[in-house]
């Protein structure tokens, strides 16, 4: 069986994380910003699994499971907040959501 260096997987996960950070900074739509956060979580998950395979320790894969649970909870609450924001302000543009209280 030929091997490929584990660093290839780490570079891929770094690229995904960087794309997530870039999207978080340059996007102006709240929903797309939220999707960029999910992209960052996915990038971190890949490095967890890669390290688990490298060190032959299953704990890394269990941690991915926990990250997914937290991501699901976060998605539910975050999207509920987006709905509440849209209901009060009638906009999804992050530039117009600049006050804590209306």
């Amino acid at each position: 069986m030929e091997e490929i260096p584990v660093s290839y997987y780490l570079v891929l996960s770094a690229i995904l994380f960087a794309c997530g950070v870039t999207g978080f900074l340059i996007k102006r739509n709240i929903i797309t910003i939220f999707m960029s956060i999910e992209l960052m979580l996915n990038g971190v998950n890949l490095s967890f699994v890669a390290f688990a395979a490298r060190w032959h320790n299953l704990s890394g894969q269990v941690f991915v499971f926990f990250v997914m649970v937290v991501a699901a909870a976060e998605a539910a609450v975050g999207l509920a907040i987006i709905i509440a924001v849209f209901r009060t302000r009638e906009t999804l543009n992050i530039d117009q959501v600049n006050l804590l209280k209306l």
Binding site: E2, V62, F66, A75, R87
Partner: protein, 173 residues
């Protein structure tokens, strides 16, 4: 050879999806490219042998969470994003800074991660072994996440309910 080819093909699909997420103006296009990223990530997990994680990735991420996103995009009738032109300084400093950072990180990871290779299916993560860990070593965190999910459900219901509906239910009780 097979491992490298599969890794490169699905890694490229993954990166293309991530870049497409940034480029697209309409949120629904971004959501669909995020589905592509997650599906190809599931294949990468399979290459590393993490069968359970790959299955959960497809079911929870590409299934449940993305359905939630698409549902909210359609519910709020989100249109194309209004573009605000960034400042010139941000463009001039940001793009070279981003490229330098990316090259530095890739160089550092490739140079100092100590070698060490992985074969196809290097660490088979059978559901049985994962469950063994989850229900013995990680039992407390597992139970804590159940409380977290319960709180998240209640929070989502309270936040997304219409204010009038909350007041009516208070009056009734």
């Amino acid at each position: 050879m097979l491992h490298l080819v599969l890794f490169s093909v699905f890694g490229l699909i993954c990166v293309a999806g991530a870049v497409n997420l940034l480029v697209q103006k309409h949120p629904i296009n971004s959501a669909l490219s995020l589905v592509v990223v997650m599906a190809s990530l599931a294949v990468e997990y399979l290459l590393l042998g993490a069968e359970f994680v790959a299955a959960v990735q497809v079911i929870v991420y590409a299934g449940a969470i993305m359905v939630l996103f698409v549902f909210v995009i359609m519910l709020l009738n989100a249109g194309e994003e209004e573009h605000t032109s960034g400042s010139t300084v941000a463009w001039l400093l940001g793009i070279p800074g981003l490229l330098t950072g990316a090259v530095l990180i890739c160089w550092a990871v490739l140079r100092y991660s100590g070698g060490g290779g992985v074969t196809i299916g290097a660490l088979p993560g059978h559901p049985k072994d994962i469950a063994q860990l989850l229900f013995h070593e990680f039992l407390l965190p597992f139970e804590v996440t159940s409380i977290l999910v319960l709180i998240a459900i209640m929070g989502a219901v309270v936040l997304a309910a219409r204010p009038e509906a909350v007041q009516e239910s208070k009056r009734e009780s």
